[in-house]
């Protein structure tokens, strides 16, 4: 799988000179299992530039939403393939007991918040609950999902291809309520998704000082992300969902001070970064 980060910012876009190297777009990742198949992880503002880069050879697009907070869906109305209708499109999102995915998405994709309604998308996307019960096969990729600790129904995803595995938990607070910094598996939220993966993309929004003031807001620190990666046996960690208040210099400094355990590669997520899994 080829992976490219199109948006790494959390909560709110952060455009400007101070964030130009890591990027200011909110959560969006391109996964390409095949030339004609595109999997998109979350639909933050990074979805707009990704949409402009989609070529006609792409015949199937699966958009996997972890949850429906605005920074993860605000790009939906700006994704060119939705309006061209050239590819078959499916949107997957967390299940809810109170409203369908369609009902919840159209709270945003309808007036007064947005001028175009979901039914007007030429691609006529089909909507599906994330595979929290049984995995689904999307092309050559096996996709599974599990609810994880974050306010409101939120899932993380695990993508398994013949070449490798990727776990994506962009908004995740596994330390919430834990007696230790993190509970060891199996009592570790998201542990099953990330177990032994080749690439883990995980929330690292806060500094330790910020986290102490924001417990229960659903996010992690850089150190917690590293501990989570160690506990799950992930081989490479890309930190993600950078706080909009953290500029390039701050992210550089945080990465440099971090003790990296043996057997684990850690790097801050950067817009435009690519990986092969």
């Amino acid at each position: 799988m080829k992976v490219r980060l199109w948006g790494v910012r959390g909560s709110l876009g952060a455009a400007g000179q101070a964030t130009v190297r890591y990027g200011g777009n909110t959560s969006c990742i391109e996964v390409r299992p095949a030339a004609d198949h595109l999997i998109v992880l979350d639909a933050g503002s990074g979805l707009r530039p990704l949409g402009l880069a989609v070529t006609p050879e792409v015949r199937r697009i699966d958009v996997l939403l972890t949850h429906l907070h605005m920074d993860h869906i605000q790009g939906l109305g700006f994704f060119a393939p939705f309006f061209s209708g050239d590819a078959e499109v499916a949107i997957w999102g967390p299940p809810s007991i109170t409203a369908s995915l369609h009902q919840r998405l159209t709270r945003y994709l309808s007036p007064p918040l947005f001028p175009v309604e979901l039914r007007d998308f030429a691609a006529r996307p089909t909507l599906h609950d994330a595979p929290t019960h049984e995995s689904v096969r999307l092309g050559s990729v096996e996709v599974s999902a599990a609810l994880i600790l974050h306010p409101g129904p939120t899932v993380g995803y695990r993508l398994t291809s013949p070449e490798g595995t990727l776990a994506y938990l962009p908004d995740h607070e596994p330390a919430l309520g834990a007696r230790k910094s993190l509970e060891p598996p199996p009592w570790l939220s998201g542990g099953g998704l990330a177990e032994g993966v080749d690439l883990l993309i995980h929330d690292a929004q806060y500094t330790a000082e910020e986290y102490a003031q924001r417990i229960g807001w659903g996010h992690s620190t850089l150190d917690l992300a590293v501990t989570f990666a160690q506990l799950t046996g992930a081989r490479r960690l890309v930190t993600f969902h950078h706080d909009p208040g953290h500029d390039d210099a701050m992210l550089d400094a945080a990465a440099q001070r971090l003790p990296v355990p043996d057997g684990l590669t850690v790097e801050p997520g950067r817009e435009g970064a690519t990986f092969v899994v």
Binding site: R179, P186, L188, G192
Partner: protein, 131 residues
């Protein structure tokens, strides 16, 4: 490794902070946790127990009617909550693993998560003489 659903993780973490005795089972009825407050009534530390399926912990704690007669699964709040997905309450007696019989009032309820998936069930209980 089998990972429990997040609803069970959260309930276990909450229970570990509470002073009210709490007994937690997964969707299959296997005992996954009881807290420190429950240990006095159940007669042993949770950490000292082997894994116990539904039938094993029912046999170990021997829940029965206050008059000593057997308690059916339908009348036992925790198995009943697991079976029908509803809340149940009863005062009953158990034999702790320290050999002492105790009367307890038990309220049990299912943990039903998103997509209405049963994640497990919880029993909250008190010594009946405290009530």
């Amino acid at each position: 490794m089998d990972y429990p659903p997040v609803e069970l993780i959260l309930m276990r973490q909450l229970a570990s902070y509470l002073a009210t005795p709490i007994f937690l089972v997964d969707a299959g009825g296997t005992l996954v946790f009881y807290n420190e407050a429950a240990e006095g009534l159940l007669g042993r530390r949770f950490e000292d127990l082997p894994e116990m399926g539904r039938d094993e912990w029912l046999q170990a704690f021997q829940p029965h009617q206050l008059d000593g007669s057997p308690l059916s699964s339908d009348d036992n709040p925790l198995p009943a909550a697991l079976a029908d997905g509803r809340e149940h309450h009863r005062t009953l007696a158990i034999i702790g693993l320290d050999g002492h019989e105790r009367q307890i009032s038990v309220t049990a309820f299912p943990l039903i998560g998103q997509a209405r998936r049963l994640a497990g069930a919880v029993a909250v209980f008190w010594p009946s003489e405290d009530r």
